[in-house]
């Protein structure tokens, strides 16, 4: 009896102590679930890599490892002007969109965060609502308009709609970043002899750099992956970006599916994104939550 009464508080104490030291130990089954999810997510990518290393009759095999691994597909896509031009166009479109989006986005965000603008909330809400538009709803009218005014099948014709869909998120992220920068800093700069614009780019911009990096990365990824406008608004290699040009890959014969080269091209265009996301993972998450919390 006595032993029991002594043991009880000790057990209670141990339980308490565990809570205080932080997270409980991860149970074994959680690891299995996590492994399952990772496998589920990454398998398509692995399969793409797998196919890209196969050629000829191997393509139809279901082996987990390519029986005769070869880099032939990679060699051939880099010889294909369809792909190399696409890569060039993608780079131009994505980088230009990113640059313009951050520049104009930061101006707009600064205005919304700091200057006296009536009905700020509604302006921001309107801007954000643009990003909820399904792209397909404007693809057809845009095609008609672009053909009429000569922007069809040009890089500018792709940059404009990309920018329109990238700006809302950029403005949203940067507005919340700018809001967090103490007003006193700008006022100090103004008193120190800076113009509004100097105060903005010498004091505010350097301090909002993490937010700008986040916005830039997200914009770049979206523009790089963009398919709908790329396929609708282009007709030749002159303006076609990679995601669209991959669809135009042809096999060596009419009856052969160009599976190997498509996979190889997909692997190649994924690499810059994977590197970027891994490098800036923290930034992206921080930027997204900053936007989410501050709203």
């Amino acid at each position: 009896m006595e032993a029991a009464t002594v043991a009880q508080p000790r057990a209670a104490r141990r339980k308490k102590g565990k809570k205080a030291t932080g997270e409980p130990k991860t149970p074994w089954w959680l690891w299995i679930v996590v492994a399952g999810i990772v496998l589920f997510c990454l398998f398509p990518f692995y399969w793409m890599l797998n196919i890209s290393l196969k050629s000829g009759p191997d393509l139809s095999s279901a082996d987990l490892l390519p029986p005769n691994p070869t880099l032939k597909n990679y060699e051939s896509i880099f010889k294909d002007s369809n792909f190399t031009n696409g890569l060039r166009n993608s780079a131009i479109v994505a980088l230009t969109t990113t640059f313009l989006s951050v520049v104009f986005g930061s101006f707009a965000a600064y205005t919304l965060a700091r200057l006296k603008v009536p009905k700020k909330f509604w302006i921001l809400a309107l801007i954000l609502s643009v990003s909820t538009f399904p792209g397909i709803s404007i693809a057809a009218p845009l095609f008609k308009l672009w053909t009429d005014i000569g922007l069809y099948n040009t890089l500018i014709g792709l940059i404009i709609p990309n920018l329109a869909f990238a700006l809302p998120l950029t403005i949203y992220i940067l507005t919340s970043f700018f809001r967090e920068i103490p007003k006193d800093l700008e006022e100090a700069a103004l008193v120190d002899g800076a113009t509004r614009f100097q105060a903005f780019y010498k004091v505010v911009v350097p301090l909002a750099a993490p937010g700008m990096a986040t916005a830039a990365i997200l914009t770049f990824i979206a523009a790089w992956n963009e398919f709908l406008f790329a396929i609708t608004l282009t007709s030749s290699q002159a303006a076609r970006t990679v995601p669209a040009s991959i669809a135009f890959f042809t096999g060596s014969t009419q009856f052969e599916q160009p599976l190997g080269t498509i996979s190889a091209a997909s692997v190649v265009i994924s690499i810059p994104l994977i590197i970027m996301v891994l490098l800036f993972q923290k930034r992206i998450v921080a930027g997204l939550t900053a936007g989410a919390v501050k709203g």
Partner: protein, 394 residues
Amino acid sequence: MAEIQLDGIWKRYPDGFEAVKNMDLTINDGEFMILVGPSGCGKSTALRMIAGLEDITEGDLLIGGERVNDLEPRDRDIAMVFQNYALYPHMSVRDNMGFALKLAKVPNSEINSKVEEAAKILDLTQHLERKPANLSGGQRQRVAMGRAIVRDPKSFLMDEPLSNLDAKLRVQMRTEVARIQSRLNVTTVYVTHDQTEALTLGDRVAVMRAGIIQQVDHPKVLYDDPLNLFVAGFIGSPSMNFLPGRLEGETIRLPFGDVPIPHRLRSKLKASGGAQDIIAGMRPEHFEDAAIEGDVPGLLKFRAKVAVVESMGSELYAYFDVETKVGDSAELAELAKDAGLEDLPTHGSGDQTQVVARLDAASKAAAGEEIDLVLETEEIKLFDPGTGKSLTAG
């Protein structure tokens, strides 16, 4: 170097709130002017209007004789020290201090020599390459000062620059600020809510309340001859004691005894004549333990039951309650609320008013015991309970 002149300055916000009302103030060339008052009295708004960070609704602001109402802050040639220092976090101390000069396109060699000279004055030389985040509070404060002085501006504006420092450092920096100001001899406007800073630093002090300047004068005058109840209660620590009394002919009736009208005040009070209610103000140091002071003419002796004793080492603060039967003064109650001064008596509910006396450390005063106290009647100040205006100053 320049004179700053505020001429009927108003600040009215879009919602109709008036932060500064018809402010007239001239700050002479090289003068150290303090704006002091409780929070929300408009002192910071006034400073920000001088800086150009806040629009002036009405009135004229002149710096060095030139009307600057519509000039941008950068064109006014002023330097400002902010309450939270507002150092640029991404720049080193050197770049922080040189930022204004760099914007003004001063050659690099000159920037460096000026920054280094300022750093020497402020004892920051070994910290020049560090970032503000790695500095202590006192060092950051000095960088903020340094940023102001390298520019050699027409005037310094300081917005509660010491309020973020701990008590000891604040006293230290206070002397530092005074030293730098007198050395550079630049017109300075300094905003604070701390009356001690105001009294110790300023050449002149402007006491503000609810957007209106109550009194502008040398610290000594503010202390000895406050123009109204607010200034009297705000300046001095512990605050002046206020007790209701009555003026009858040649005597002042106070809750603890009758006092003949002091000589000094007699001529000033002649005009009012007859009997009237008054509020009497007595500074804590004008009380003394009767056992120490002895029986000297001109002193009013009375017995009081001490409620609390605070020993400061060099002196004692003895708190005691006084029965007051005269009706409450709305002015006093409002003042107490407005200024957040707990020391001001509250007349509302009870008929007791707390009085604090500053006694010699040798006094035997103890909590809960009765003691004989004397009051220097010459030093009593009299106020009109209706208007709060002093009957004796001026």
